[in-house]
């Protein structure tokens, strides 16, 4: 009895232990395999010859599909290239190094993550680079007290590099354009949000109203013209003729028309 109970407990403990080992054991084999990405593995030639290009040895550089990071992110919110940010973005704005702890930070470009921020007027039109305003490494968070980007000194340290005499008020201009019609803008920048929708409705309303008006008008006139041309053959005259008559009538009550204007021609 005792021995059987002991055996049963031993088997149970061994099974649990094995399960624990299976769960906790590091996945040794995949980690040691030479891959550029979790999706695309090395081709046979590289694997057999041991000859790799420079870029292939660097981790996670080759991409499974060619495309902009923006597009990839649209289809899948979790891509291998997204930084696994241990710190939330909001909290990052208070750090001295706002990019602290982001994997492979040195090999990345600003616009890989900050897609929308990179695509804005100062970079496209003014031909500026991110660092000309945001500075060199480490890039401090905007709310970090000693950051040159901190709103208390942004106008003096950043804006006035080009805009001589920039004031605090001037620096409240939002350089990175936001989505004017987005729900988040309604909370953070309501005047811009409502202006956007006012102008949007004005444009759509005006074009819809007068577009429809013009379309029906041109169509109706063409329709009458075509019927006019086809009139002589069929006997539909009485149907059409009464229509134009009522308008000229009131004018014809006035003195005869043509003789008057002809006088000055002599």
């Amino acid at each position: 009895m005792d021995l059987r109970r002991l055996l049963r407990m031993a088997v149970l403990q061994a099974a649990l232990g094995l399960l624990g080992v299976l769960v906790l054991w590091p996945p040794a084999a995949p980690a040691q395999e030479e891959v550029t990405s979790p999706i695309r593995r090395y081709k046979e030639r590289e694997a057999s010859t041991g000859y790799y290009e420079d870029y292939e040895v660097k981790p996670r550089r080759a991409r499974p599909f060619v495309g902009a990071p923006e597009v990839q992110r649209r289809y899948s919110p979790v891509t291998p290239y997204r930084p696994r940010a241990a710190i939330e973005p909001q909290a990052r704005s208070y750090l001295q190094d706002s990019h602290a702890g982001i994997q492979f930070y040195e090999t990345r470009h600003c616009e890989e993550c900050h897609v929308k921020e990179a695509n804005q007027a100062h970079t496209i039109r003014g031909n500026l680079t991110c660092r000309q305003c945001h500075g060199g490494e480490p890039i401090a968070g905007i709310n970090y007290y000693y950051s040159p980007m901190n709103p208390i000194r942004r106008h003096a340290y950043v804006c006035s590099k080009c805009h001589e005499g920039a004031s605090v008020s001037f620096a409240t201009y939002e350089v990175h354009e936001r989505e004017t019609g987005a729900a988040s803008t309604r909370k953070t920048f309501p005047s811009l949000y409502y202006t956007n929708w006012f102008m949007y409705l004005l444009i759509v309303g005006t074009l819809a109203f007068f577009g429809l008006h013009t379309l029906i008008w041109v169509g109706k006139e063409s329709y009458h013209a075509i019927r006019e041309k086809m009139k002589p053959e069929p006997e539909s005259k009485p149907e059409i003729e009464p229509e134009p008559e009522p308008e000229p009538e009131p004018q014809e009550k006035a003195p005869p028309e043509k003789p008057e204007p002809k006088e000055p021609e002599k």
Partner: protein, 276 residues
């Protein structure tokens, strides 16, 4: 003259204002669109015609100031035209562009005519869509002019209003400009060129005169009023000389081509247009 009898509709100054706004508006549209689409190759090419981004900006600002001056001159001209002794009559009679209750009636009649429920309205001198064209420019020009002028001097403006107001001004300026372009290139061009009886071009804004017989159909009240007041004889003018017609046909069709090209550009590059 053996041609049709023509009566005067626009004087020289009216036509000059129209030509002025055509030229300046198209320059503003081209330089503005080039800069708006500067992220695309199209925008870069267009902007390079004006000597690069800064050059296009300078042209845009200069022509903008010219437009504001032109608008001020126009207001002085309009105010001088009003007979202030009988201002109520002068402002609200049929020769004035100020909207009247009759315009709403005409619009109702037009809609009824659209659906075959009645005869087309008999217009006086100005139809309601002509009045809308005029007032659309009258509201658009100050809006674009004031926002543009404020954006020209952001440092000075941000001393008076908070800097984020400039964000709203950018949005207003671009949206109003887009509305103006779309309205002119779609609706104004259709009414001026594509309507039956107008087809190659409605010449009255360039020739200054209209054919009496054609106007008798669309604007019978105007002709009747002229006759009652005994002004019809004074209004008769000779038609435009052939060389002048050639000039304004070339000019008009150049403007039409530029406008339609810009319209196609707006449609093709719609995803690259940033409101703000």
């Amino acid at each position: 003259m053996n041609g049709p009898v023509r009566i005067v509709r626009f004087n020289v100054l009216d036509r000059l204002f129209h030509v002025f706004i055509m030229v300046t508006f198209l320059i503003q549209a081209v330089t503005g669109m080039g800069r708006l689409l500067f992220s695309t190759n199209w925008g870069k090419t267009v902007v390079n015609l004006f000597g690069g981004y800064d050059g296009a900006t300078t042209v845009h600002k200069t022509v903008g100031i010219l437009m504001i001056i032109g608008f001020v001159i126009h207001i002085i001209y309009v105010l001088a035209k009003v007979e202030w002794k009988s201002w109520r009559k002068s402002l609200f009679d049929a020769d004035s562009l100020v909207p009247r209750p009759a315009d709403a009636v005409h619009f109702g009649q037009k809609v009824r005519w659209f659906f075959g429920l009645g005869p087309p309205p008999a217009f006086d001198r100005w139809t309601y869509w002509e009045k809308f064209d005029y007032w659309a420019v009258f509201w658009g020009l100050p809006l674009l002019g004031i926002t543009g002028l404020m954006l020209m001097y952001p440092l000075a403006v941000s001393r008076i209003v908070p800097g984020w107001v400039l964000n709203i001004l950018v949005l207003l300026h671009r949206a109003e400009a887009l509305l103006a372009m779309l309205y002119i290139f779609i609706i104004h061009f259709t009414i001026g060129h594509l309507r039956r009886g107008m087809f190659p071009m409605n010449e009255c804004m360039f020739a200054g005169s209209v054919e009496l017989e054609k106007e008798r159909e669309e604007k019978p009240l105007w002709i009747a009023r002229l006759r009652e007041e005994g002004k019809l004889e004074e209004a008769v003018v000779p038609g435009p000389p052939p060389w002048y017609r050639v000039v304004y046909f070339v000019f008009g069709y150049t403007a039409l081509t530029i406008g339609l090209y810009l319209l196609v550009t707006i449609i093709v590059y719609r995803n690259y247009i940033k409101w703000h």
